[in-house]
């Protein structure tokens, strides 16, 4: 097992190297350039140097005059040493900006993940045990609706209904108008109420796939020989489903959920942007639009690391829940 993990980690590092190289190359090739925008601004001041002169000077000071590969190597060196540089767009160290926004993204992600589990697993089981029944059709159909809804569309509908028409929630932002005047508890509740719609959005659009996954796996397990055996020896239906079948369904579920744990840190770019929630997704979007290379590189590499870590966790969890894997 240890060898296996070490091997996987080494392999992940190898992948990471190429992923970051590709990301860096792509960013350098992006048409939007922070330096160009800045040069335009600076050169339009009275008595200033010309645009080209500024561009040259800025390119040099931002290290953009070097070839992509050289630039990448120097970035990689810094990255490996944990030196992520200063964000151009936010003019603070990348890590500082990251820390200030990751909290809300994590909370949103965590709550919606838990809601997904709480909703998807029981419904999936119900749908599987009552296959082809009315409730199965309803659950499956609504799961499909959830999967098919694009985030931006669903979020806009929610805003229209609950904010504009009903006036229950604010359209955007994470705090209400009187936030600064509230006590600690009031502030907490204020934030909670502003997270309702984003979390609902996140949950609804992703609950469907987990539900279908549970259903499929459950069906598979229910058709297995040992379930028939369990029934044959006269166990109650409840025991068959929740003791024998469900536990075995957990194996694939745990791997999929485990794999999505790192995703809690990646933020929800579209949802956060739509609701103007200053989380990591929203901030990274702004950084990308502004051509902020240090921040974007950090964020994308971070996502890459998370994805690799997610896979690794899945594999390890698989071993945890399935003794056969461990033995093998």
């Amino acid at each position: 097992m240890r060898n296996y993990i070490v091997k996987r980690i080494l392999f992940s590092i190898f992948i990471l190297f190429f992923v970051t190289l590709i990301i860096y190359t792509l960013i350098r090739c992006l048409p939007t350039s922070y330096v160009e925008t800045m040069a335009i601004q600076l050169s339009s001041k009275p008595g200033s140097k010309s645009y080209t002169e500024w561009l040259e000077q800025l390119n040099a000071s931002y290290g953009l005059d070097r070839p992509i590969l050289v630039g990448y190597v120097s970035w990689l060196k810094d990255f490996a040493q944990g030196n992520f540089g200063d964000s151009w767009r936010f003019t603070v160290p990348v890590i500082q900006e990251f820390k200030s926004v990751i909290g809300v993204s994590f909370v949103m992600g965590a709550i919606s993940l838990i809601l997904e589990l709480v909703i998807a697993i029981p419904l999936g089981i119900v749908a599987a045990t009552k296959q082809y029944s009315k409730s199965d059709y309803i659950i499956s159909a609504s799961a499909l609706v959830g999967i098919s809804l694009p985030t931006f569309f669903f979020a806009t509908i929610l805003k229209l209904v609950f904010s504009v028409k009903l006036g229950w929630f604010d359209t955007h932002g994470i705090v209400g108008r009187n936030y600064a005047q509230l006590d600690a508890m009031g502030q907490f509740l204020d934030k909670c109420s502003h997270l309702v719609l984003p979390i609902v959005t996140l949950t609804i659009v992703s609950v469907g796939s987990l539900m279908r996954y549970t259903r499929t796996n459950m069906l598979e397990v229910l058709n297995a020989d040992y379930i028939r055996t369990a029934r044959a020896k006269g166990l109650s239906e409840g025991k068959v489903i929740y003791r024998h079948a469900f536990r075995n369904t957990l194996i694939p579920l745990v791997t999929i959920v485990g794999g999505s744990l790192p995703g809690l840190f990646s933020g929800a770019l579209i949802t956060e942007t739509l609701f103007s929630i200053p989380g990591i997704g929203f901030v990274s979007y702004q950084a990308m639009v502004a051509g902020d290379i240090p921040f974007t590189m950090f964020y994308l590499s971070f996502i890459a690391v998370l994805t690799l870590a997610g896979n690794l966790i899945s594999d390890i969890l698989y071993a945890v829940v399935d003794p056969r894997v461990r033995i093998a």
């Binding site: 048409p31 939007t32 350039s33 160009e36 335009i40 601004q41 050169s43 339009s44 001041k45 009275p46 008595g47 200033s48 010309s50 645009y51 080209t52 767009r89 936010f90 003019t91 965590a110 709550i111 838990i114 809601l115 589990l117 709480v118 805003k159 229209l160 904010s163 504009v164 006036g167 929630f169 604010d170 359209t171 955007h172 932002g173 994470i174 705090v175 108008r177 009187n178 936030y179 600064a180 005047q181 009031g186 907490f188 509740l189 204020d190 934030k191 909670c192 109420s193 997270l195 309702v196 957990l250 745990v254 942007t273 739509l274 103007s276 200053p278 702004q286 945890v320 829940v321 003794p323």
Partner: protein
């Protein structure tokens, strides 16, 4: 297995947390209505109390009182306080008051007082209320309430000038509140009083005018109310009245019934109840939309984006203000009235600015600031704060967006660059210098033996000429006859050089002093060979700027070496507190220490995200995508009405919805017909009524944008032959320009509706220099043909005009040297083409006001064999780089104009953003002349001429002037509390302290 269990347990625990949080969300929802109830209750109280209090109170007796009271120096008045009061005077008055307010203006109002003012006698009225009421003064009333509140009211009432201390007791009102009411508006109060009493007779009102009276100013009245409303029959009121000035007494008579302070308060209370009930100060927040992703640079020195600047503008106070058309207000301290759009508006600001053009060509800008301003932390504002601010902005390492450093301030160059002119170094080093670090021996020798004497001779000659020219001497007078008039004696037969040497000797060999003191027209240095004027970089650069001079605690003088019409705008800088951004202990004006180490702005930069100033609001915090601000009680125009201000980062799509949903109160949606229709539908109007801007949900205000849209033509890329300025090249560009110009109306109308207009000169309509249709020589852009005859007539339809334009374009093409056969272009002359491209940023979807225009033009020109291709790029950077690098042939863009119409940057050969690449001497001269004058009429004519040249070279086709929109929640914001006639230079943010919320 155990691990799997653990995991499940973990998940369960997490799920529980969720449900808890879920409940939390619910609670919040239920809490909201509760708060509403509370506020409702308060409102009721507020509105009820004063009305009843006032209605019955004043009687004839009261109206009599002042008249008599005023005539006497000391009077005592009986004041009945609170509630139903029976006045123990000759006449009975009833004042039924329900004193329940939290606002104590109203508390004073509770004191519905009756006064008896027996002349030459002191009377004690049997009330429990002791009222000392001075007239123009502060009344402090203390009432006991459940909650303690403070309210400040300003009213102004020069009443009979009574000092009233009223103590009233009221059990019913178990509130304790403190209020200061600043009574200052006599007339208003008096008028109100008039309404109530009706008992006023003209005779009475006339009476006191002639009386000699003295009024005590700024007295404080404390009234304590602790009692039931019916009780106070026994209250004692003492009123000492001293009228100070006749004016005041007159004022009193105008109102007629202005009596004691107590009455005033009652009047005032009513005045409040009549208004739209303004929201209670505490707990009031207005939410203003701002752009997503603020840069967070709110410092007065480093704010660069518009949104950051808006926030900075709330926190910081500017030295001077600009009026609605961006003219500086010279007398901000006293206030100045200026007309705009037929209405007079009063402008007041923190400072006065005066400009003096000196005879030697230098210009003095004297800036004087008010002596009564404080920063929000209570520290007084002095001129040292302004000097500190200027030094930061002028520091050699300053890299913010302000451009004050571009001003020709005396001594600035030496300060900023650490460079000194060579002559200055040579003079300082002396003739015998042996240090040749910065120059060689030869230069030094030449300077002392040739250049300096030569310049001296010319300098002396200029003095001689001056004396002759001014009639001190006859033209034939020898040098020795002239010099005595200048205070120097020279020998017979002396030359101008001798005269110069005499002057040098007279000043002990100090050439610099000679130049400064003796000059007639220009200084000595202006006669030096230019090679001695270049700056030499030395280790020691000047440690101060000689052109910034501290005159007194509240005044400074900035001297510029030459007249620059734009300089006055640069005198508008935010006043940054020295004690906060800098180090007040280090500041020593005489010792050339300005609160920070020159060249080191790190301490200033540390405060970039946390501004402090003397503006209307205090910056609290920027977090969660919101900038929080609180009203500044020290603001010199008075504490703003709204206690809290939130700038909420909002996406474009939320700017209208956010108001409907109650998230936002004021926003600035990007305005187009579509936006207008959305707003109309929220207001319950149909699509056709989209231009009805006053709706029940959203009120829309349109403000001309401070810039304009244009299509530029690069003469180097669109030309005939080699010369971009030849008549042929001009004709080619005019052919295209004529076609574009004629299609503008239709396209702009379809994109912006009636909220944008087509413009005919390359300048924003919001500028004072914009030519008006009524001006002489005003004409539609590109409306004459190749022979100079008008292309269009008044009775032409649109179709006729298009045909006529095409005809005129052919004429221009012909002149440009194109071959035309059967009305079609068949060949282009050398250097020109049959196809040109226009680049624009319409997101690749044609989403641009000029897109339809260009498409129509392209279709029309195809008929004559000319291709105009449209390159609609998705990425705006591509557009910018193409025209800024001079690659584009034609391009669509927009300018955002500054305060001054100066055209140097845009059209001068040396202009840094002259993307048209127009380099024409004639134009350069006009632009230079324009910026060298402060005469607006003259400048306007100069700029009109300059614009005509620009159009003649056809490098720019002005397209549209659009409007910015302001969407305001009609339900929450008192729309009338916004300023009228907002312009790009005068928005509601400039009068934010007056903004009110509806409750």
């Amino acid at each position: 297995m155990t691990k799997a269990r653990k995991f499940l347990a973990l998940a369960l625990a997490a799920a529980m947390t969720v449900s808890l949080v879920g409940c939390g969300g619910g609670e919040k929802e239920t809490e909201a209505p509760a708060t509403e109830k509370k506020t409702e209750a308060v409102t009721e109280k507020v509105t009820e109390a004063p009305t009843e209090a006032v209605t019955e109170a004043p009687t004839e007796k009261e109206t009599e009182a002042p008249t008599e009271a005023v005539t006497e120096q000391v009077t005592e008045a009986a004041a009945l306080t609170a509630a139903e009061t029976e006045a123990p005077t000759e006449e009975e008055t009833e004042a039924s008051t329900e004193a329940v307010t939290e606002q104590v203006t109203e508390a004073a109002a509770l004191t519905a007082a009756e006064t008896e003012a027996p002349t030459e006698e002191e009377t004690e009225a049997p009330t429990e209320a002791e009222t000392e009421a001075p007239t123009e003064e502060h009344t402090e009333a203390l009432a006991e309430t459940e909650e303690e509140t403070e309210a400040q009211t300003e009213s102004g009432a020069a009443v009979t000038a009574a000092e009233i201390v009223a103590t009233a007791e009221s059990e019913l009102v178990e509130l304790e509140s403190e209020a200061e009411s600043d009574v200052a508006a006599l007339i208003t109060a008096a008028e109100l009083e008039e309404k109530e009493t009706e008992a006023l007779t003209e005779e009475e009102t006339e009476a006191p005018t002639e009386a000699e009276t003295e009024a005590l100013t700024e007295e404080e009245t404390e009234a304590q109310t602790e009692e039931e409303t019916e009780a106070p029959t026994e209250k004692v009121t003492e009123a000492e009245t001293e009228a100070l000035a006749e004016e005041e007494t007159e004022a009193v008579t105008e109102g007629g019934a202005a009596v004691t302070g107590a009455e005033l308060a009652a009047a005032e209370a009513e005045s409040e109840s009549e208004d739209v009930t303004p929201a209670e100060k505490d707990g009031n927040t207005v939410v203003i939309a701002t752009e997503q992703g603020l840069e967070g640079k709110f410092s007065p020195f480093f704010a660069s984006s518009q949104a950051d600047n808006d926030i900075m503008g709330m926190v910081d106070l500017q030295t001077i203000v600009l009026d609605r058309v961006s003219n500086p207000v010279n007398n901000g301290i006293a206030g100045e009235t200026r007309a705009y759009n037929g209405t007079d508006y009063e402008y007041t600001g923190a400072g006065d600015i005066s400009v003096t053009e000196n005879e030697d060509g230098t210009v003095d800008y004297e800036l004087k600031i008010r002596d009564d301003i404080e920063f929000s932390d209570g520290e007084p504002v002095t001129i040292d704060d302004v000097i500190f601010s200027m030094y930061v902005l002028l520091d050699p390492t300053y890299d913010g967006s302000a451009t004050m450093f571009s001003l020709p301030i005396e001594g600035l160059e030496e300060y900023r660059s650490g460079m000194e002119p060579l002559y200055s170094l040579l003079l300082d080093a002396g003739e015998d210098n042996t240090d040749f670090t910065y120059w060689d021996e030869e230069t030094q020798t030449a300077f002392w033996t040739e250049a300096l004497p030569a310049a001296g001779e010319k300098f002396a000659q200029s003095i001689l000429d001056y004396c002759i020219a001014n009639g001190y001497n006859a033209p034939d007078d020898p040098v020795e006859a002239i010099t005595p008039n200048w205070g120097f004696e020279v020998e017979e037969g002396a030359t101008a050089l001798d005269f110069f040497n005499a002057m040098v000797e007279g000043h002990g060999g100090d050439y610099k002093e000679v130049s400064e003191v003796e000059l007639a027209s220009s200084g000595l240095w202006s006669y030096l060979d230019p090679s001695y004027l270049i700056g030499i970089e030395t280790e020691d650069s000047a440690d101060y700027i000689s052109g910034i001079e501290r005159v007194d605690d509240y005044t400074l003088r900035v001297t510029t070496t030459e007249l620059d019409a734009t300089a006055i705008y640069q005198m508008q800088i935010p006043i940054a507190p020295l004690h906060y951004y800098g180090d007040a202990d280090e500041y020593d004006y005489e010792g050339h220490n300005f609160g920070f180490t020159k060249g080191d702005l790190s301490a200033v930069k540390e405060k970039t995200s946390e501004p402090l100033g003397a503006g209307p609001y205090i910056f609290k915090e920027y977090s969660n995508g919101v900038v929080y601000m609180d009203a500044n009680p020290n603001y010199f125009k008075g504490e703003p009405e709204i206690a809290h201000l939130n700038f909420l980062e909002s996406a474009e799509s939320d700017k209208v919805n956010g108001i409907v949903a109650g998230t936002l109160d004021i926003s600035d949606p990007s305005f187009s017909v579509d936006t207008a229709k959305q707003i109309a539908s929220e207001n319950g109007f149909s699509d056709d009524e989209w231009d009805n801007f006053d709706g029940p949900v959203i009120t829309t205000k349109l403000i001309d944008y401070r810039g304009y849209g244009y299509i530029g033509v690069n003469p180097n890329n669109v030309k005939v032959g080699d010369d971009p300025y030849s008549d042929e090249s001009k004709a080619l560009r005019k052919a295209i320009a004529t076609m574009i110009a004629v299609y503008r109306d239709e396209a702009i109308d379809s994109y912006y509706g009636s909220t944008a207009s087509v413009i005919n000169y390359p300048i924003s309509n919001t500028s004072w220099a914009a030519p008006q249709t009524t001006d002489d020589g005003y004409q539609i852009a590109y409306s004459v043909d190749v022979d100079g005859n008008p292309i269009y007539t008044a009775d032409m339809t649109a179709e006729d005009k298009y045909a006529a334009a095409l005809e005129a374009a052919l004429g221009y093409f012909e002149k440009a040297g194109y071959t035309i056969e059967d009305g079609k272009l068949t060949a282009a002359p050398e250097g020109a083409k049959l196809e040109y491209e226009c680049i624009l940023g319409g997101n690749g979807q044609g989403d641009h006001p000029s897109f339809l225009l260009l498409k129509n033009v392209a279709d029309a020109m195809k008929e004559i064999g000319f291709t105009l291709s449209i390159n609609d790029v998705v990425n705006a950077d591509e557009l910018y780089s193409s025209y800024q690098n001079g690659i584009a042939e034609l391009w669509c863009a927009a300018w955002s104009a500054g305060s001054d119409p100066d055209m140097y940057q845009l059209y001068h050969s040396q202009g840094s953003t002259n993307y048209y690449q127009i380099r024409v001497d004639e134009l350069d001269e006009l632009i230079e002349a324009g910026r060298a004058s402060t005469d607006q009429t003259y400048r306007k004519s100069i700029y009109q001429a300059a614009m005509e040249i620009i159009m003649d070279y056809a490098v720019e086709i002005p397209i549209y002037q659009r409007s910015d929109a302001l969407a305001i929640s009609t339900e929450r914001v008192v729309v009338d509390s916004m300023p009228n006639d907002m312009t790009p230079y005068w928005s509601y943010l400039d009068e934010i302290e007056k903004l009110e919320l509806v409750q």
